[in-house]
């Protein structure tokens, strides 16, 4: 798998038309990181596999093209802030951060081991370079990212703030408290991305709470809202570029995704919220994700 590690050296790319139309390199990274997520889930028995596979494309685009962050200076004052509000996507975030060069891939050999900082959710900043907030309890990340955005505005810093939410997380009232305040304060430097994989832990998200129409709800709360295919890099790219153009209101990207995306027998099967693959299942999954 080392061949793809060269991508680590790519750094955050300036977006050209070529890139907008051709995200082949990102697709290769996505394949590689999906493999690593599956291996970790199987070997270390880390759950939330479906949730990680649904958001990995979003994370890759963010870390390779969108976020102004420097893996060599992860605490730079003017950096953009990314908060994984759906903290259970940590196995995907850790892989993205390692591949992007925030820390050595070798550190992930400790994933899930006793005493390691790499477990099911991100710890507080200071333990893993690139992690901006400890999440895992849902409904905290977006309000924290909003606080960061307001602080940056007050300090006249150009940093933007991003939060990646799950659709289940939108059950939490604090998300809508933050939504109302961000709109009232016209915090246009805040972008929320919802990994809308249509499932939460124990059922269809729209059946548990009246979640839909989700994008319209955000519009009604005063946000600029877009709906995209969250596995299509060109659509992710356009949506984030559009979000940057908003100068009077926060922006939400409702990213339609497939839970477990990339492995046919895991896709849209909610058993994989908690299940981890056995050896046989891992081999079958990896066979679908061969790296060229």
């Amino acid at each position: 798998m080392d061949e793809a590690s060269t991508f680590r050296q790519l750094g955050c790319k300036k977006l050209t038309e070529h890139h907008q139309n051709n995200f082949e390199s990102l697709k290769k990274i996505a394949n590689l990181l999906r493999r690593r997520i599956l291996i970790t889930s199987s070997e270390a028995k880390i759950p939330h596999l479906g949730s990680c596979l649904s958001c990995i494309d979003l994370l890759i685009y963010l870390y390779w093209y969108e976020l102004k962050v420097d893996p060599n200076n992860p605490n730079g004052k003017e950096r953009d802030r990314f908060v994984l509000s759906k903290g259970h996507g940590a196995p995907a975030l850790f892989q993205a951060l390692a591949e992007r060069g925030f820390f050595s891939l070798d550190l992930l050999n400790e994933f899930g081991k006793a005493g390691s900082v790499f477990h099911e959710h991100p710890p507080k900043p200071g333990y893993i370079p690139g992690v901006e907030a400890a999440t895992g309890s849902l409904g905290h990340g977006l309000p924290m990212a909003l606080g960061m955005a307001i602080a940056h505005r007050s300090f006249n810093l150009p940093a933007r703030s991003y939060a990646l939410l799950s659709d289940g997380e939108c059950n939490e009232g604090s998300i809508w408290e933050a939504a109302m305040l961000a709109a009232a304060q016209r915090v246009y430097t805040l972008t929320a991305i919802i990994d809308f994989n249509k499932w939460q832990a124990t059922g269809r998200s729209k059946e548990i709470m009246a979640l839909e129409p989700l994008a319209d709800k955000w519009r009604a709360f005063g946000w600029h809202a877009q709906e995209i295919n969250g596995h299509n890099f060109a659509e992710i790219s356009s949506a984030l570029i559009n979000a940057r153009k908003e100068i009077d209101r926060p922006s939400v990207i409702v990213a339609h995704t497939i839970k477990g995306k990339g492995v046919t027998f895991i896709e849209d099967d909610n058993n994989w919220h908690y299940r981890t693959p056995n050896g046989e299942e891992l081999s079958a999954a990896l066979a679908e994700l061969e790296v060229d």
């Binding site: 905290h140 309000p143 924290m144 307001i150 007050s154 604090s174 408290e177 305040l181």
Partner: protein, 309 residues
């Protein structure tokens, strides 16, 4: 006390560009001066305390020194997980002010009473838990809180509380002080209710009883040097608080005595509110009286302790 908070925070914000005041739709007109000097650093966050507390944590992680202000139940138990995770776990140096604490808003009913906040917040790692007795102690603690790398909860009263400290040189976080000298026993407590203890002590003095009173200033961190010194002087301690007997000042002192192997040397009487919600309402004085926790109730209980009955 709340007016002192408003004027102190305004003064501090004049000197420091990183102070940001978040209010939960409360304090109408109280912060007019603050808004005049730092309009961009005041935000009414509405009636949405969970978001307000997480925002404060996020702001602190980005270098701001936010202070969150609303009525105690709403800035503590209403958003407890946001305090625990966002503020305390991240060691985000947020200052949390709970106003109208204890039974300050007695007539507003149990929804507005805060008799569990000290117990609950004390259990959270890395959070200073303070309850100043008067405006002087509040001012000293507030200034220190903005220098601290830890988050701080400050439980204050409402308005018109008398000044009880005469020496301000040793006030601050984790600093206890005697506010009245005495010989027979020591009352240790937090918050403006200690004024009731002062009145009781004055009355008992006419009967020949000499009661010392200490303001602990808070329950975390605890002033161990002070308590050790007091353990050499007094064998009878009385904890006194406008808070449940479970988990507050009395519990903290009991734990301290046990940890320091002083169980045989010190007898501790714990006075506080019972383990129940209060339905029969009146103003603060009425409720304290009905709970036997005002100066009259205290006189009776201390008298028994000193003279037996």
């Amino acid at each position: 006390m709340r007016n002192t908070f408003a004027s102190e925070i305004t003064k501090i914000a004049q000197k420091r560009e990183d102070i940001f005041l978040l209010s939960g739709d409360i304090g109408n007109r109280m912060f007019d001066k603050f808004k005049e000097i730092a309009p961009q650093r005041f935000l009414n966050c509405g009636i949405a305390e969970s978001n307000m507390m997480s925002m404060a944590a996020g702001m602190a992680l980005s270098g701001m020194r936010p202070v969150v202000y609303t009525i105690t139940p709403f800035t503590t138990t209403r958003c407890l997980e946001q305090i625990r995770v966002g503020v305390a776990y991240h060691q985000a140096p947020v200052v949390i002010i709970g106003t109208g604490s204890g039974l300050s808003y007695a007539e507003l009913g149990s929804t507005h009473h805060s008799l569990e906040d000290l117990a609950i917040l004390r259990a959270i790692p890395g959070l200073n838990v303070l309850a100043p007795v008067d405006s002087l102690e509040l001012s000293a603690q507030l200034q220190e809180a903005f220098e601290s790398k830890f988050p701080t909860y400050i439980r204050i009263g409402k308005k018109g509380e008398p000044i009880l400290h005469t020496d301000t040189s040793k006030l601050g976080i984790g600093k206890a002080n005697l506010i009245r000298e005495g010989k027979d026993l020591l009352v240790l407590g937090v918050g403006p209710i200690l004024n009731e203890a002062m009145k009781a002590a004055q009355f008992l003095e006419t009967k020949g009883c000499s009661v010392a009173i200490a303001s602990l200033g808070g329950i975390k961190p605890i002033d161990t040097a002070f308590l050790q010194a007091m353990s050499c002087r007094f064998s009878t301690w009385v904890s006194y608080e406008e808070h449940s007997l479970i988990g507050g000042v009395g519990s903290t002192l009991l734990e301290w005595i046990q940890t320091h192997n002083l169980m045989d040397k010190i007898s501790l009487l714990r006075l506080g509110t019972p383990d129940e919600f209060i339905h029969h309402l009146g103003n603060q004085s009425f409720v304290l009286n009905s709970l036997n926790l005002d100066s009259h109730g205290l006189v009776n209980q201390l008298d028994k302790l000193i003279n037996g009955s």
